[in-house]
Structures are given as structure tokens and as C-alpha cells.
């Protein structure tokens, strides 16, 4: 297997694992852990195999076409730096999975946990291995989404929901900025390919759009890495289960930001803007995070602020903009990941075994869990930068850099002092973590009696602490080659001179370390009384709650401003909206006429046919009549609309469109039936009772009338102007020429629908199916208005007549008698209409007809049966399952499309032939016919479902709360 193929596996494996994990049973803790562990381990092994290909600037690359027209390819690309991150993501991922197996309680739904964790791992690997910036942003947003799901894992907890939402708001907003920045970057370079971008650093830096691109990209990176002023989401995210915190905040999520900074370092760094924005943000975060960490009362809160501070340090190193500082930054990324993951896990063990993480309640745990305590101490010492541990090495490099840099500004002179001070703070909070939890008198009234955790739960901590030690003592032999590989990928071709030794002799950095360590210890001693008093929050900054500011800003923007904007510009009144819509359309349509006049060319007119004029006299009368009568005479208006529809249908025949005429006619029938069924539920509106319109209403009507006249005459003029000029060349020629030769049908319209544009038709019937289901769903919960619940007046009168006429006459007999002969005819012609439908379906490819028309015909047949026999009569004799028909139709149509894949053709490619069938004769036998059959079945199902669902309402007994009252009032009125 080539390395390129391995990369696909590396990215796809976690997602595949995530999918599998999601479907395992809720209590399968062990299987889940095995699965997730195996995926992480496999990823680690794949990464390890790739090592030989990425040393000394080697790159493993896989490229596949994605959107070639836009110059976008799907690229997976692993160089030394990506390799290093890949090791961290999979390696620490494996340890976290192992830890989580013991941490998660049996009550927690673990499939969700492991599924999200694996998906997150995949997204993170996607960021790391992306060789295309757009693709990187995609995975970037995926990490935001999955971290949201992971932080909010215990979603029954309000704090978890809030924390998750805040993390998502900040990081996803940053992600959008990053997307914009990447687009600008792509515009500058002319390519989104990472290699191309990295190679054009000079072009980018000298471009006028450099600063906007830089700021946008930095907004993405700094929000993700929780840098000041966006740092506040990270402590809120501590509500996540501890394995999540250990994973997200040591090696992955927050590291994505600094990963991006280092990744784009060759392309973006080297300017004052970079130095100031990145450097200052890092510096402020470094100091502020360390200061705030000292005063946290929650173990995880302390670690959260220390994470912020260490990320600030890394950002600062990358911002210092020298190769050596960048190398130190990369080194610190590794070191921080190891000791911070182990510390989070240790905090989780304490929480798990004692039931609390509050430093004020914890004390003297050393007695109960000496091994865990020792491990935590080593890790905390690494965090504080004690010699012989990995944290010391990168901190030394940092100190050396602060002394080296002399730009002459005050900042440069101050830097060593600030660095020492912040490191002193980090010594204080490390001491507080260890001393607060493990030393002092034994804790009383803890929720649980503390003891050592299960061995395999502690194993990840042991492993990571061992790594801290080994790297700290023999850095050159252990982390040296990997660091060089990673740094080379970022800094090539010029790797700076550096020495990964523990002992450099008596130097300034060593002195700074000593001052920080001793000073930190003294400071902790001094602060102890204050810390023991148990006040929440840091002095000076206690009242500055970033969460509250964030909430307030969010409320202001998304609630108050949005609300007032809505009140200012929006309306809930449909009439106003429609007036605006029609008015805007009118203006938009008139706009091109500004300064010109619509030239009308009479040359191409057809001779006037008096019959046609007569036809449209009827049509126009119908339309105007319907408009006039729709308010008080609904039935009359409906009949007139039917008349207008009939005129339209005849016009279609006249103008050589038989298919349209057929469809229009049938749809007209069905629509009329539909609205007739609905009329029964509308309120009575009697002209005499309504008071005449107010003056205001009159003006409104006048305005509407003007608008309607303008719209109508506008459309008429436009239609006339178009009809009288010669037709331009259109794509109709394409269809006419190929309908028979390639589609195998002579009915061009039908061939377009089922073959050339089959995909559109598939979409259309899907819409039809969805509408039918929506109608059905809406009607299931249908509650009629109180005054429509009682049976209609006409029916009541009939029933009264039935009752009065003869004692033997049953209720409803009038209707039955009235329809007796038509009902017999309707029942008798039902099979023939069905046959007609089949006929229309089969001949549709060659002659007017097709799935739609046939489907409507079949529906009409079915409806006739219902009208003749009544709902109960039909459903006792016929299995009417419209929902199934919809499903079958859709499956058949889509299945025909998929069938083309079997013959290696694109979706919905059709095959055409003609066959001699017995009795029927020569018939078209295109696969499009099968597709049309799907259309037919679906149309029958959808139309029948809509109409029958509506019809069923009449025989349903409705129990509205006010039914009885309404009934009572109706009866009293009658008396």
C-alpha cells in the first residue's frame, strides 16, 4: 500500500469508526472502548509508518479531483509538522480512550461519547492533513461542531449546555472569519493549494490585501486557541467530561489554532503586523492566564487557565517571528500536550475517586493515592518548568529568545522580566494544584472515600509522565529527531542552530528559571493565607466576568438589536408583504424600460381567429367574475375559475400543446374537487350582514386595484412584445433533434420530462410526495372552527325531510336516491377509466399522455368511486394505501435512475427500444417507461392522499373543547 493510500485510511478511519460506534448498544462500554482504541492505535501505526517519508522535508501527498472547474482538489498532505500533530492526535487519543473506559460511568450513554470522540479525532486529523485551505476550513468547522457536542455531552446539565454553546459561538464565529481570510488568501495567491500558498510568502506579504487576510485568519486561530480577548470560552468548557477536556485542551482543539499559526508561518509571518498582533495577544494571554489560574478553586478551572496561559506562550513564541522562537513554540506544543493531558487525567481521577474538584474541600490526598499523587507532582513540575523535565527545556529556549531579541522598543527590553513574572505565576499555580490537593491534613466529609483508581485508568497518566521525564532527561535521543522533522517542515530551508541539551552552563535563562522557581515558591507562601480564605476569583479582576460580558453582548445583538430591526423593517401582515412583493416585482420589471420604449414588431403576427376571440371573451369574463365574487360567493367563484381553466386548456390545444391541454384539464378537475372539499370548513360570509367598507379600506382597495391593473397590463404588454418578435435560437433544437434518435420517443415533451430532464422530474415528484405527506400530517391534527363542526345546513335540511317524509325512510336517503343512477354509472366506468390511465401511461413516450396525466386520470377514477359509494363503502372493498403508493413510486423512479449505475452510466441514463407485444402491438420499451411508471404511481398516491385525507374530515367526529357549547347555541338558534 502506498503512503498516499494510507493517508486516506488515516482520515477516513475515525469517521467510519464513529459511525459504527453510534450504532452499538447503550451499555457496550468495553466494545466501544476497544473499537475507539483500535481506531486510534491504527491511526498511530499508520502515522508511524509514514515517518520515513516525511523526514528531511519529505511530503506524502494524495490528490483527488473535487471541483476541478474551480481549481479545487481534495488534497491530503503530510509533512513533518503534520506528522507530529498526527502522532499527538492519535497517540493522546488512544490514551484518552483507555482512560475514558474507566472514567465514564455505566449510566452514561457511551455510544454517543465514543462516536463524537472518534468523529472529532477524524476532524482534527482532517485539519492537520489538509493540503487545501478550503478543505482545512471545512474540517476546522467540523471540530467546532464536534467539540460542541462533546462539551455538551451531559446535556441535562444547564452549565454544560451553556458552556458548549459559548464554545461553539466563539470558535465557529472564528471559523467563519478564517473562511473569509482563506478566501482572501486564495485570491491573492490564485490557488488554495497549501503548497502554493506556502511558497508565495513574499507575494502575500507585499499584497495590499495582506492585512485584512491576516486579521481574518488570526481571528480564526486566536478564537480557537482561546487567546485574549477570546479566552473566556475555555474555562466554561470545563463542564465537559474530563477525558474530553484532557483531549480537547491538551493535544487537539485548542492546538488547532497554534497549528494554523505555525502552518501558515512561512506565508504570513515576518511583518510588523504579525509581530504585534500575534505577539501581543500571546503575551497578554500568557500573563493573564497564569495570574487567573492562581486563584481558581476548581482543579479543572486552574488547569483551564493554565492551558490558556501556555497557549499564550506558544502564540507569543510564534509571534516573536524568529526561526528559533518558532522552533521553541513547536517544541512546547509537544511538551504542553504531554503534561497537560496527564494533569487533566489526574484531576479527573481525583474527581472520580473523591467526588469533588474543589481545592477548598480537597486536602491530604497523598495518603490515599500516593502513586497518582506522585505522577501528578511530576507532571505539575513539568508545567512549572522544573529542570530534568520537558517543560523546562522549552521554557529555557523561550527565555533565551526573550533575551536575544532587541528591536530597541520598550517591549523588547521588558520581555525578559514579564516572562520571568509569568513563569513565576505558573510555579505558583502548579504548587497550588499539588499542595492543595495532595498535602495538608486529611480531608474530611468528602462525598466518597478516596482510594487509588483502577490500574488501567492510571496507565495513561503513567505513560505520559514517563514521557515528560524521558524527554526532559535525554531530549536529543527521544524527541530530537521528531522535533527536527517537524520544525524543518515549517522553517525549511533554514533550520536554526539549536542545542537540545539539559545543561547549557550558567546562563541568563538558567538564572531566570531559578528566579522564577524560588520566587514562585515564596509567592505561594505569601499568598497562602489569601488563597485559604476561599474567595472566588482573582484580586483586581474579580468583577470583570467575561462570561457575563459575553452574554450581555449576545443578548444585545441577537435579541435587542435583532428585535428592534424586526420591528422597524418587518411586518406580520401578509397583505403588506404581498403588496411589497408585487410592487417590487413591478418596479424590477419596469426598470430596464427606463429611457427606452418597448418596441413592438407587428410583422410576425398570426391572423386573428374570431373563435379564439370569442373563447377569450369567455375566459376574461370568468377571470373578472371570479375576482369579483370570491369574497361572498365562493362556489360561483370556483366555477368561474374552472371556466378560466377550461379556456386555458383549450388555448393549449389551439396553440399546438396537446399534452398541456390534457394535463390542465385533469388538474382542473382535481383542483376543483379539492377546493370543493375544503369549502365546507370555511365560515359563512353573507354580503348583507357585512357593514360597508370604511374609508380607510376603500383607499386600500383603490391602491390594490391600481397595483393589479398595473401588473396585469404590464404582463400583457410584455407578452405581446415578446410574441410579436422573431424567436431567438433556443435549446429546443437540441431536444427536437435528439428526442427520437437518443430518447426513443416521438412525444418530445414527454421525452424531455422522463429522459433529458429526468432528474428535475424526480425532484418534482419528490416535492409532490412531500406535499402530500405534509397535507396528511396537517390534517391528522385538524380541528375545525366551532361553527363548522356541526353538519352543514343543506344536509340538515335533507335529513329533516327524510325524517318527515315517511317513517320507513332512512336518514341520508335523499342523497342516495338523488345519485342512484349516476352512482351506478360511476361504479361501472371505474375500470374503464383505469384502463384509460394505463393507455395514457404506455403511449406517453410517443403520443400525448405520460405518467402525470395517467396518474391524475387514475385519481379521478378513484374519486368517482368514492363519490358514488361513499368513503366507507369504498374502503370496505378496496385497499387504499396512498402513503405506500407514494413510497413505491419514488422508489421505482429513483431505482430506475440507480439502475443506470449497474451498466456504468450516470444516474438516470435511459435505455430505449421498441418491442412487438401480443395484442397491443408495437410499443415503446424504454427504461424511461419504468421511470414514468414510478411517476404514475406516485402521482396517484400523492393526489389520492391529499384528497382522501381532506374528504375523511367530514366523517370524523371532531371533539373540540367548545363543541358542546357551539352545538347548544346552534340548537337554540334554530328554535
Amino acid at each position: 500500500m502506498s503512503n498516499a493510500t494510507l493517508l486516506i485510511g488515516l482520515t477516513a478511519l475515525p469517521f467510519a469508526g464513529s459511525l459504527v460506534a453510534a450504532f452499538l448498544p447503550a451499555n457496550a462500554r468495553n466494545i466501544e472502548a476497544w473499537l475507539a482504541g483500535a481506531v486510534a492505535l491504527a491511526g498511530l501505526i499508520i502515522t508511524a509508518t509514514c515517518y520515513s517519508s516525511v523526514t528531511a522535508g519529505g511530503i506524502v501527498r494524495y490528490e483527488a479531483q473535487w471541483l476541478p472547474t474551480l481549481g479545487l482538489n481534495f488534497i491530503l498532505r503530510m509533512d513533518g509538522f503534520a506528522w507530529l500533530f498526527s502522532v499527538l492526535v492519535t497517540g493522546i487519543g488512544f490514551l484518552v480512550v483507555l482512560y475514558a473506559r474507566y472514567y465514564m460511568s455505566p449510566e452514561d450513554p457511551v455510544p454517543r461519547f465514543f462516536s463524537f470522540l472518534l468523529a472529532f479525532m477524524g476532524a482534527m486529523l482532517g485539519i492537520v492533513l489538509s493540503g487545501n485551505l478550503i478543505q482545512l476550513v471545512f474540517f476546522w468547522e467540523l471540530t467546532s461542531l464536534f467539540s460542541f457536542l462533546l462539551i455538551g455531552y451531559w446535556h441535562h446539565n444547564a452549565a454544560a449546555r451553556d458552556g458548549a454553546r459559548m464554545a461553539l459561538t466563539i470558535t465557529a464565529a472564528g471559523g467563519l472569519c478564517l473562511f473569509a481570510g482563506v478566501l482572501v488568501l486564495g485570491y491573492i495567491v490564485g490557488s488554495y493549494d497549501l503548497d502554493a500558498v506556502l511558497a508565495s510568502g513574499d507575494l502575500i506579504r507585499s499584497h495590499s490585501l495582506y492585512l485584512p487576510a491576516l486579521i481574518l485568519i488570526l481571528l480564526g486561530a486566536l478564537t480557537k486557541s482561546a487567546q485574549f480577548p477570546f479566552h473566556f470560552w475555555l474555562p466554561q468548557a470545563m463542564v465537559a467530561p474530563t477525558p474530553v477536556s484532557a483531549y480537547l485542551h491538551s493535544a487537539t482543539l485548542v492546538k488547532a489554532g497554534v497549528f494554523l499559526l505555525a502552518r501558515l508561518w512561512p506565508a504570513l509571518a515576518g511583518t510588523d503586523a504579525w509581530l504585534w498582533i500575534v505577539g501581543m495577544s500571546g503575551l497578554v494571554t500568557f500573563v493573564l492566564g497564569a495570574y487567573l489560574a492562581i486563584f481558581q478553586q476548581d482543579l479543572k478551572g486552574l488547569l483551564a487557565y493554565s492551558t490558556i496561559s501556555h497557549l499564550g506562550l506558544i502564540t507569543l513564541l510564534l509571534g516573536l517571528d524568529t526561526p528559533l522562537a518558532t522552533l521553541a513554540g513547536i517544541f512546547h506544543i509537544i511538551n504542553h500536550a504531554t503534561f497537560k493531558a496527564s494533569l487533566f487525567m489526574a484531576a479527573g481521577i481525583i474527581d472520580h475517586e473523591t467526588g469533588t474538584r474543589d481545592i477548598r474541600r480537597l486536602s491530604g490526598l497523598y495518603r490515599f493515592m500516593p502513586i497518582t499523587a506522585t505522577l501528578a507532582m511530576v507532571a505539575a513540575a513539568a508545567m512549572a518548568g522544573v529542570p530534568l523535565l520537558n517543560g523546562f527545556l522549552s521554557k529555557e529556549m523561550f527565555f533565551a529568545e526573550t533575551i536575544q531579541i532587541h528591536g530597541g522598543s520598550i517591549m523588547d527590553d521588558m520581555l525578559p522580566y514579564i516572562a520571568t513574572l509569568a513563569t513565576m505565576f505558573s510555579v505558583v499555580y502548579s504548587l497550588r494544584f499539588i499542595h492543595g490537593a495532595f498535602f495538608g491534613p486529611p480531608a474530611v466529609d468528602l462525598p466518597r472515600v478516596p482510594h487509588e483508581p483502577p490500574h488501567w485508568m492510571r496507565f495513561p497518566v503513567e505513560f505520559l509522565v514517563l514521557a515528560c521525564l524521558v524527554v526532559g532527561i535525554i531530549p536529543g535521543l527521544t524527541v530530537g529527531p521528531a522535533l527536527e522533522t517537524a520544525a524543518y517542515a515549517v522553517l525549511s530551508p533554514a533550520l536554526p542552530q539549536y542545542n537540545l541539551a539539559v545543561w547549557h552552563g550558567f546562563t541568563w535563562p538558567l538564572l531566570m528559571s531559578v528566579i522564577a522557581l524560588v520566587g514562585g515558591a515564596l509567592l505561594y507562601r505569601l499568598l497562602q493565607r489569601y488563597l485559604l480564605s476561599g474567595v472566588e476569583g482573582a484580586p483586581l479582576l474579580r468583577h470583570l466576568k467575561s462570561q457575563r460580558i459575553f452574554d450581555r453582548v449576545l443578548v444585545t445583538i441577537s435579541w435587542r438589536w435583532a428585535g428592534s430591526l424586526k420591528n422597524l423593517l418587518g411586518t406580520r401582515r401578509l397583505q403588506v408583504q404581498l403588496r411589497l412583493l408585487v410592487g417590487t416585482t413591478l418596479i424590477a420589471a419596469l426598470w430596464p424600460l427606463y429611457g427606452h420604449w418597448l418596441a413592438v414588431d407587428h410583422a410576425a403576427s398570426l391572423a386573428l381567429d374570431p373563435a379564439f376571440a370569442l373563447l377569450w371573451t369567455v375566459g376574461i369574463t370568468c377571470a373578472v367574475g371570479a375576482a369579483y365574487l370570491a369574497k361572498y360567493h365562493r362556489l360561483a367563484a370556483l366555477i368561474l375559475v374552472g371556466g378560466a381553466g377550461l379556456v386555458t386548456s383549450i388555448t393549449f390545444v389551439w396553440l399546438s400543446a396537446p399534452d398541456l391541454a390534457l394535463t390542465q384539464l385533469l388538474v382542473e378537475i382535481v383542483t376543483t374537487m379539492l377546493i370543493l372539499l375544503g369549502l365546507r370548513w370555511l365560515p359563512k360570509r353573507i354580503e348583507a350582514i357585512d357593514s360597508g367598507p370604511h374609508a380607510k379600506a376603500r383607499t386600500r382597495r383603490l391602491g390594490d386595484l391600481t397595483l393589479a391593473l398595473l401588473a396585469g397590463s404590464g404582463l400583457a404588454v410584455l407578452a405581446y412584445a415578446v410574441m410579436t418578435r422573431p424567436a431567438p435560437q433556443s435549446i429546443s433544437r437540441f431536444f427536437l433533434e435528439r428526442a427520437y434518435t437518443e430518447g426513443g420517443g416521438t412525444n418530445v415533451v414527454n421525452v424531455i420530462l422522463v429522459d433529458f430532464r429526468g432528474f428535475d422530474t424526480l425532484g418534482e415528484i419528490t416535492v409532490l410526495g412531500i406535499v402530500a405527506l405534509a397535507v396528511y400530517a396537517l390534517l391528522r391534527r385538524f380541528r375545525p372552527a366551532p361553527d363548522s363542526i356541526d353538519i352543514p345546513e343543506q344536509q340538515r335540511l335533507q335529513n329533516a325531510r327524510d325524517a318527515a317524509a315517511h317513517p320507513l325512510r332512512s336518514t341520508g336517503a335523499t342523497v342516495t336516491d338523488y345519485l342512484a343512477i349516476p352512482a351506478l354509472i360511476m361504479q361501472a366506468i371505474y375500470p374503464f377509466i383505469g384502463l384509460l390511465a394505463v393507455f395514457l401511461l404506455i403511449r406517453g413516450h410517443d403520443l400525448p399522455g405520460g405518467g402525470f396525466v395517467a396518474g391524475i386520470t387514475m385519481t379521478v377514477a378513484l374519486l368517482l368511486l368514492y363519490m358514488a359509494g361513499g368513503i366507507r363503502w369504498v374502503e370496505a372493498r378496496l385497499r387504499v394505501r396512498p402513503v405506500r403508493w407514494i413510497a413505491m413510486g419514488l422508489l421505482l423512479a429513483a431505482g430506475t435512475g440507480v439502475g443506470a449505475w449497474l451498466f456504468c452510466y450516470p444516474f438516470l441514463t435511459s435505455y430505449a427500444a421498441h418491442a412487438e407485444l401480443p395484442v397491443i402491438g408495437r410499443a415503446p420499451l424504454a427504461s424511461a417507461l419504468l421511470f414514468d411508471l414510478g411517476v404514475f404511481v406516485l402521482v396517484v398516491g400523492a393526489m389520492a392522499l391529499i384528497l382522501l385525507a381532506l374528504a375523511h374530515q367530514s366523517i370524523r367526529s371532531h371533539r373540540a373543547p367548545s363543541t358542546k357549547a357551539a352545538l347548544a347555541s346552534v340548537t337554540t338558534e334554530e328554535k
Partner: protein, 114 residues
């Protein structure tokens, strides 16, 4: 011919727009139906008017546009007819449900105060 069809389209559209702006749901549904006739005929008009042109190809041959009715607007309208039925059905049911819930057939679900 053209002038008559144009007039017809205009009146259908005008009546449709007038009804669309009315306050009662039934008026709006009738208006939408009229408007859809107007739009369908307008689309047909875009392919120019042909009377008596065959819409079906002579068997076994590819067609020459000059001899046949334009199939493109027809295919578009066929889709539009079916979709407008679906829209009408959905709107009718929403209308009925709204009437049941609010007790009025005003488009806003509440009678205007004035």
C-alpha cells in the same frame, strides 16, 4: 391572435394579483390559481404562438424546429401545472388549519382592528 392572448394573460394576472392582495384566504387561493394560469400561458407565449404545428415527431426521424411546436416551454409548463396543484393543496390545508385554530379566515389569523 397575439393581442387576444396578451389581453387574456393580462386580465388573468390582474385578477390574480387583485385577489392575492385581498384579506380572505379563499380569495387568495383563487387568486393564486388565476395567476398560475396567466404565468403558464406567458411561458407558452415565450416560445411564440404556433397553430396547427405538430407536437409529435414523425416516427423515426429527428425533428427540425421550424416544423414543430416548441417543446421546451411545454415541458416547463407541465411541471408548473403539477407543482401549482401541490401548492394549492398545501395552501388549502394550511388555510383550513389556520381557520380551525384562529377561528377566522383572515390571512393574518386575526381580524384587522380598524
Amino acid at each position: 391572435m397575439e393581442i387576444i392572448l396578451a389581453l387574456g394573460i393580462g386580465v388573468l394576472a390582474g385578477s390574480g394579483v387583485w385577489l392575492l392582495l385581498r384579506p380572505r384566504t379563499f380569495q387568495v387561493i383563487i387568486g393564486l390559481t388565476l395567476l398560475s394560469y396567466a404565468v403558464n400561458l406567458f411561458i407558452l407565449a415565450m416560445g411564440r404562438l404556433r397553430t396547427g404545428a405538430p407536437a409529435i415527431l414523425a416516427a423515426g426521424r429527428s425533428g427540425e424546429p421550424a416544423h414543430y411546436a416548441d417543446p421546451l416551454p411545454q415541458a416547463l409548463i407541465l411541471t408548473a401545472i403539477v407543482i401549482s396543484f401541490a401548492t394549492t393543496a398545501l395552501f388549502l390545508v394550511v388555510l383550513l388549519a389556520a381557520r380551525g385554530l384562529t377561528g377566522t379566515d383572515h390571512v393574518d389569523g386575526a381580524e384587522r382592528e380598524s
